[in-house]
């Protein structure tokens, strides 16, 4: 296979991986997802038997690999043309996690030796030894392991070669410790040290969203997880899960929205119970709007007196808008709010400015408050 063909096969293997480093995006695909790193697998020949994965061993598919020198050369070429900010390197399991991490480390070290100052994100395999994680932490800006699911039982079902507690959770904890250590060493002026993150495959098993949201909250608390990524399950032919149904894309979107409510809005998993159905699954409705609609007694919120927490519960007001409101009081009109970035069409039914609020059918009929 030519270099181009191998590159295509291995890059396609990472297209579902998200890697936001919140710096400069350089291109956007027709699906609207940003391309800011050269994302590639080192190889798609994998000794793992993950039941949902197109690269699982034994599956009949085109196998390819790139040498560290080839990956480094391509990364430099794209970087010089300002087409990327750095490299995202994942891989199939080459024998075992240790050998795979050694290979990944070889790429990162080679890049750094050549003076590469761009961003390097290494997605390590479950079970990577601690000494290699430490070496990776010295060269990469970000590194971490994918949790894929919510519990040991689920994990053993989809990734039978690895142990959830030891190979994933233990590594998440080491990653957290190493990130904190590196941040202390580098300070604010050193290289960027990305926060702990992980990815979940949504819908491969029957785990309800309540379980996923609870796991995300636990990870945020315990492993200082900054951002969870969600990947909708899509059945791959010739895998044990080929007959399962694909997870709807909206589920992924709603999970992202709830993760932001946990991360930026100060809500807890318990607060989000109201947006789940009886079986613990999210509905295809904006969870913040649903929460607000389910608690009419909390609204309208007086824009000029409400606390930050109360403002954040209003649909159409985010953390930035809430800060602006708090620092610009008194607010006298909707126009001022609109200039501050509040989405009035969403916020209007839930706010009150100087005693004025949008009327509704209940107040028109004289029912309720």
């Amino acid at each position: 296979m030519t270099l181009m063909e191998r590159m295509r096969v291995l890059s396609e293997g990472t297209k579902y991986d998200s890697c936001n480093q919140s710096a400069v995006c350089h291109a956007f695909g027709p699906d609207g997802r940003c391309i800011q790193l050269y994302k590639t697998l080192m190889t798609n020949a994998c000794s793992g038997e993950c039941t949902y994965c197109p690269n699982r061993c034994g599956r009949d598919s085109v196998r390819a690999s790139l040498t560290p020198e080839e990956i480094v050369k391509i990364t430099w070429s794209f970087y010089r043309r300002n087409a990327i900010e750095g490299l995202f390197l994942s891989s199939g399991v080459i024998g075992d996690a240790e050998r795979t991490a050694e290979k990944q480390l070889e790429v990162a070290s080679l890049l750094r030796k050549q003076g590469f100052t761009g961003y390097v994100h290494i997605r390590v395999m479950p079970g990577t030894p601690k000494y290699l994680l430490e070496e990776i932490a010295d060269t990469a800006n970000k590194f971490g392991v994918n949790a894929e699911t919510t519990s040991s039982m689920n994990y053993s079902e989809i990734c039978p070669n690895f142990d959830y507690k030891n190979d994933v959770l233990q590594r998440l904890q080491w990653t957290r410790d190493l990130i904190n250590k590196k941040r202390r060493e580098e300070g604010f002026r050193g290289r960027i040290i990305g926060a702990n993150d992980t990815q979940f495959v949504v819908g491969a098993l029957q785990e309800p969203d309540r379980e996923i949201i609870g796991t995300v909250e636990r990870f945020m608390d315990k492993y200082e997880l900054r951002r969870p990524y969600f990947m909708s399950f899509d059945p791959v032919p010739s895998t044990p899960l080929e007959n399962n149904e694909a997870s709807p894309l909206w589920r992924e979107t709603r999970l992202y929205q709830t993760s932001y409510l946990l991360k930026d809005y100060g809500l807890t998993a318990r607060d989000l119970d109201g947006v789940l159905d009886d079986n613990g699954f999210l509905l295809d409705v904006d969870p913040k709007m649903l929460l607000a609609s389910c608690s009419p007694d909390m609204f309208p919120v007086n824009i000029n007196t409400a606390s930050r927490e109360d403002l954040l519960r209003v649909p159409g007001i985010g953390p930035v808008g809430a800060n602006r409101i708090l620092r610009s009081r008194p607010i006298s009109s909707e126009k001022e709010l609109a200039r501050m970035g509040v989405v009035l069409t969403r916020a209007r039914p839930f706010i009150e400015i100087n005693g004025k609020r949008q009327t509704n059918l209940f107040s028109f009929a004289g029912v309720g408050a």
């Binding site: 181009m4 590159m7 295509r8 890059s11 396609e12 297209k15 579902y16 400069v24 995006c25 350089h26 291109a27 956007f28 695909g29 027709p30 699906d31 609207g32 997802r33 940003c34 391309i35 050269y38 994302k39 391509i74 070429s77 794209f78 010089r80 043309r81 300002n82 087409a83 003076g115 100052t117 761009g118 899509d234 894309l249 930035v320 800060n323 602006r324 620092r327 610009s328 607010i331 001022e336 200039r339 501050m340 970035g341």
Partner: protein, 281 residues
């Protein structure tokens, strides 16, 4: 009294302090001493109090004197007051005198710069965001090429941001000289590699004659293939992608132009090449 100030961060801040001391003073702004002299000659003014033309004051101290030492940002990506003024001044529609009056009207409350509460406040906040956005667009979509070993790129922005972009590109590639051509001038970054100052400005015609270690890298085909490989057809979202990769980005480079075309038209999964290879089989 007539106060003439330079259209720089320092000049603006000094003019603010002067205006706050003497609300009745008249203001004139100028880009530099020559510009000021021309304006004075044209209007027949002889004596003015010139501010900011020497460039010696500590702007942070001036900001602290005007707005205090509070942390003055509402959004983590908002620049501080100095950055705000610097960005606003680069905007094509920015008027230095109006900006001075606006800063004074804040009466030491810098939060009004960022809140967008007043109409003028919103206008200048938008100017700041416009310039910031244009700069980020350049960082995103400009694709420099190696010309005699110098990373060279032509930019065409309505705002004056060539020097900012040059510094960014030079920081990103510390081992190479970079040249950002904006109209008839070229900003040179990492100029030490070619015997110039680290950051300097030269005529655009001179930039082409700079030489450094030659390097050839044909990455366009590789990039096209990589770009195509990242697309998930089931998730095509034309409206969203258009907003993020607007048509304007296409003019910044050939690579961006092709990316932008694919955003508009999608990526064909069947090409003439695949037809030919199938025929061979």
């Amino acid at each position: 009294m007539i106060v003439a100030f330079r259209e720089s961060v320092e000049g603006i801040l000094l003019a603010c302090m002067e205006l706050m001391d003497d609300l009745g003073c008249e203001l004139i702004s100028a880009k530099d001493r020559e510009d000021l002299q021309q304006k004075m000659d044209f209007s027949g003014i002889e004596n003015v109090k010139a501010l900011g033309f020497r460039g010696t004051k500590d702007t942070t101290k001036l900001v602290n004197a005007l707005f205090g030492k509070q942390r003055l940002r509402m959004f983590q990506r908002d620049p501080d007051v100095e950055g705000y003024i610097s960005l606003v001044l680069r905007h094509r529609s920015s008027r230095a005198i109006e900006l001075v009056h606006f800063l004074c009207s804040c009466e030491g409350n810098a939060e009004l710069l960022y809140s967008g509460k007043s109409v003028t406040g919103k206008k200048y906040y938008n100017y700041m965001r416009d310039v910031s956005r244009s700069y980020h667009r350049l960082c995103m979509f400009a694709r420099p090429c190696s010309v005699n070993g110098v990373l060279t790129v032509k930019v065409d922005s309505p705002h004056q941001i060539g020097d900012m972009f040059c510094r960014w590109l030079a920081r990103k590639n510390p081992d190479l000289p970079v040249s950002v051509i904006e109209g008839d001038i070229a900003w040179i970054g990492n100029g030490g590699h070619v015997g110039l100052e680290t950051y300097t400005q030269v005529p655009a015609s001179l930039a082409g004659s700079l030489e450094f270690a030659d390097m050839h890298d044909e990455v366009d085909d590789l990039w096209d293939m990589y770009y195509d490989s990242q697309f998930i057809p089931k998730r095509r979202n034309k409206g969203h992608a258009r907003g993020l990769q607007p048509k304007a980005s296409a003019s910044m480079s050939k690579m961006s132009e092709r990316d932008s075309y694919k955003v508009e038209r999608g990526i064909a999964n069947c090409t003439l090449d695949s037809f030919a290879s199938r025929s061979e089989v």
